[in-house]
Symmetry: C3
Subunit: 449 residues, 3 copies
């Protein structure tokens, strides 16, 4: 706390010396904004920024002051504006998962600006960087959305990546807002990663709500110990549970055990966390089993509809895509089940363990994970049964034709070839969907099927 | 506030002059109820009603006082009892969506009383009113329920329509109860319209919980500005997002923008709300695609089971019903998926945008909406594949029989006719289910299938 | 309250006289633990235990003090340690559902210790006790889990059965923690029994949150009236709604009505509770219909995959298991739907009514319950359609072979027998899965299918 206080005073001093704005400048903003947006003016007026004479133009820029006609809607969109003063926090943020897109500047598909502006920035996140294929540097789920849904993602869901006011409010500097676990919950909630709900209904959460921070941990206690803005400290795995190297894992685990041991014995805490590791691995094995089933179905052409009969994936086209770039649209049923397994139930299972919530680990995670795998297996059996019936009908058709015509074997081969050609023509756009279907029907009739 | 205070004083004066009850009357109720229901007596005693000498009989009626043997359970069920004093609030309530059934008096299927009592009242809601067919004036989901489940709907879910104590408590007049967003949440929650959960986990909600109304909006801030009881002000669409005429939309949107602009710039707010409009339209388009797929499957007789093989819909009988009168029971799988799309995911997607909750818009809404559409398409492909197999088997059977018997073509036609006759007899109730099935089996055997 | 105070004083006296430990003993623990686990020491120091000189060794045992090398991780795992002083609470706990495993000592599959240690204890819960088959005394869902997931269940989910610190915190004696409904919510939440969420979003819950216990009931108000630790008082049914004998039901219902009538009229309360009874029965009927459909599908061999093609159930082997020992893994799709019906939606429907939450009763319970039943019926129709197609193909194949070979009828019988033999060999482990499948293919070819 003393360090923080010193830093604040230091920053105030720097500002007081550097600050080119004066009261008259501020007044020129206020003359309108006291009427237009009174709550913004009032939040700023009682902020630490106001006390330190960090006025409107310091953040919004000089030009904001001169031409109201076009600049009215410009907002402070990038963390580096704040970073000019809040260097330590910015460096912490930059180093952790929250800063992914901050590192990429304005280049990330899911961040504020277009890829073209600073493609170099991709290198930090995507292994081969900006020279890699679109498949590696763009985010297919964003590409598949309407502009309006993209805006929800960019301005709200992924806002934290390069905007400080995602957690801190925009004009107030009241730290109680940013430290309250509820603000973490505005993103870390919902079917894909309900860390807030897990914590809130765990013993940690309910004791915090009753007795406060002295009695039980909030989000920041474990994930931002001593005020670090690197939220990835103490985390032993990457996105979706991808393993870090052994030495990094051990180093990060030790950091987390240090936090746990303020209340629990280290042995107890270590057991709990290593149970989490094991359950993450066990759950991942179920996801991989489902992944294998679906790839086999695809290779046998059994998906209904098959990727070739569906709208093209923005990056993978008419090939099956169930990896990190998987969409949640234009799928077959087994894939729809798999999406839920991988993005929802798997994640909830192991994060439920790490957040000490047995109900999430078990009933929201493990049970639906295993139910979905059962359903995928059951659906795969159905698709194989359909294939068996098709094959047997084909065999019977061959035998019938054999009676009538000795060359039948080759005739059905000809049918297969003809169907394949038609499909190719359709996929290349040489035939419309209606033309394709009517010709297909005609072929079946021609071969007496 | 001053206006409200004046109105309250005025009402008190009216009551003090009109009031025929006296302390002895009240005492005759209290003599028992102090023992029987002490919490009711104590809530009333400290209420504004008690101060204004609005005693038991004013609301519960004179007869309540005279014959305890039969009247004990009578409760104040209709808003017009309150409306005798609270005229302005009642008129506001009457004009908005909350008052649908208040307008209909006691005639609505889902309100307190039976349709027969005041069928004229339907005219306010149902275009052709009480002279229309049952399908237009009754609510099939109510008709399909047991009396006990109907009671949940009438006395709890739709209570707000003509009972003031849905939001205000019954005997206390403490306005902090009715103004707290939690009371709105008792209805506006859950899979069909989780506005409470959306708001609660949005920035609006968490700032309200931390800092109160001065800092962030609660339900009433946006939907009951200046205390109006017309909760539909500022809403630009009807039930399930049905479009209002352009001029009404614009007028209502302006009202909402007025509210937003107390904290946000109008341009920012307008962009957010028009994104909501666009996303509502985009989501509706997905619902319509699914609707079309299902109607086509039904026309081809591919639904499994088909409407004719299922228990009759209370209004539409054995016809497909996936419009506003759709049930959530006795459906085929694609319809069950469609029900969730339309009643849950579509609604959550756009309401999530309007309530500034990207997680609801995206992960609780948009993702399951698109997953369900994928599954409907996949199931439709499966049902068509089954049809193809059936047709090919029929063709093969024809060919086989042709070999053995020249009249085969007409024989399978005869089978089709025989099956159709049987089904008709069964649907008319001339055959029991067992008889129908055994005769069907016999037919298949007769035709060697 | 006076009784409680007397009991506390009595217990303190007993301890002060019996207590063999002294300040030096306590100090020997504290010398390390002030450094190692400061929060534990501080919680105890301000507890009623500290005031009554109930020191570390009283609960953790003498040996804990002597040899730190091996005893460090021993914790107080059994309620009987607390029961030595808190006799009345322990007897209450023992008598109700919370005490199931407390009665069984350490013998329950899902409690702390292994079955072998005290198998006699099963007699309290399992009718035939420890001499019954494994199927009757073990819990298959535990047997199917990894050790790490079992630990979540034993140490967290079912901890309440024989550990007092499930509700009371470990070292503090602050009763406000155990009395707060949030602590009940750490278990009574989630898809299998969301009593906490139901209460929290009901009028009871929101009024409690706003106005406190004087105004509205919390969990303990209805389920632990006058401080009883028998949480089953006033409950008229066993696990999963199993009916108690009529006289027990009536006795328990009267207890609950006594509680309700502190705020509501008894007639009103009785109507609400009997609606709950009716809706439980109606919902159970839907579950039973689904149960019947699935058993019939199994008898006809139509489940996909069938139990014989799936990993063995830990108790029932390769037989269908959809009773109390049903797993949520290795199921076919209809069974996966059934699991959700029975364990989630059925329970939510009737518990939603009893907890006065129409949204849970209806949208979280009744609607998905009926949707799932629709889907089960639809899937059953699909599986029967597949069988019909298979049978028709078989018939056609027979007819084809008849043309070529007069002995066909017996030939397909031979195929059936051959397939049956193969399957038996595979299930007995005499053939690997690959061998089984390749021989099956060969058989089909041999018979021209």
């Amino acid at each position: 706390m003393n360090k923080t206080a010193l830093l604040i005073i230091l920053n105030i001093c720097i500002f007081l010396s550097l600050n080119q704005s004066d009261a008259s400048e501020k007044e020129s903003c206020f003359s309108c904004h006291r009427q237009e947006t009174p709550s913004i003016v009032s939040a700023w007026t009682s902020s630490a920024h106001a006390m330190a004479q960090v006025n409107c133009v310091e953040c919004h820029g000089e030009e904001y002051n001169s031409d109201h006609s076009t600049q009215h809607e410009r907002i402070v969109v990038e963390a580096h504006v704040c970073a000019r003063c809040h260097d330590k926090a910015a460096r912490g943020h930059f180093a952790g998962k929250h800063g992914i897109s901050f590192r990429a500047g304005r280049a990330c598909t899911r961040s504020q600006m277009k890829t073209e502006e600073n493609a170099e920035g991709c290198k930090d996140c995507h292994e081969k960087g900006a020279i890699a294929s679109r498949q590696e540097v763009e985010c297919s789920r964003f590409l598949a959305q309407s502009p309006e849904m993209q805006r929800r993602g960019r301005l709200m869901c992924h806002m934290v990546e390069n905007r400080c006011d995602a957690c801190h409010s925009s004009h107030s500097t009241d730290l109680s807002i940013a430290r309250n676990p509820d603000i973490c919950g505005t993103c870390h909630m919902g079917p894909d990663h309900p860390q807030y709900e897990m914590w809130e209904s765990s013993k940690h959460g309910i004791l915090f709500k009753q007795k406060g921070l002295k009695y039980a941990p909030a989000c920041t206690t474990c994930h931002m110990p001593e005020g670090t803005h690197n939220v990835s400290e103490g985390i032993t795995m990457g996105l979706a549970g991808q393993a870090y190297p052994q030495d990094v894992r051990e180093k990060e685990r030790d950091k987390m055990l240090e936090v746990c041991s303020k209340c629990h014995s280290k042995t107890f805490a270590a057991q709990n966390l290593s149970d989490g590791d094991a359950i993450q691995q066990q759950s991942m094995a179920l996801v991989k089993e489902a992944d294998k089933i679906i790839r086999e179905l695809d290779q046998e052409g059994l998906l209904l509809p098959s990727p070739s009969d569906r709208p093209a994936h923005p990056l993978s086209g008419h090939k099956l895509e169930i990896g990190p770039q998987m969409l949640y649209e234009d799928l077959s049923r087994v894939e729809a089940l798999f999406f839920r397994m991988k993005k929802f139930f798997y994640v909830i299972t192991y994060k439920g363990v790490f957040h000490q919530n047995p109900d999430y680990a078990h009933w929201y995670g493990n049970a639906p994970l295993k139910l979905a795998l059962s359903e995928i297996r059951s659906e795969a059996a159905l698709l194989k049964e359909l294939k068996l019936l098709r094959d047997r009908i084909n065999n019977l058709a061959n035998m019938d034709l054999t009676g009538a015509n000795d060359a039948t074997g080759s005739e059905t081969d000809l049918l297969t070839l003809d169907l394949r050609k038609l499909k190719e023509q359709f996929l290349k756009g040489e035939l419309s969907k209606d033309e394709y279907e009517s010709r297909r029907e005609a072929l079946f009739k021609k071969y007496g099927l």
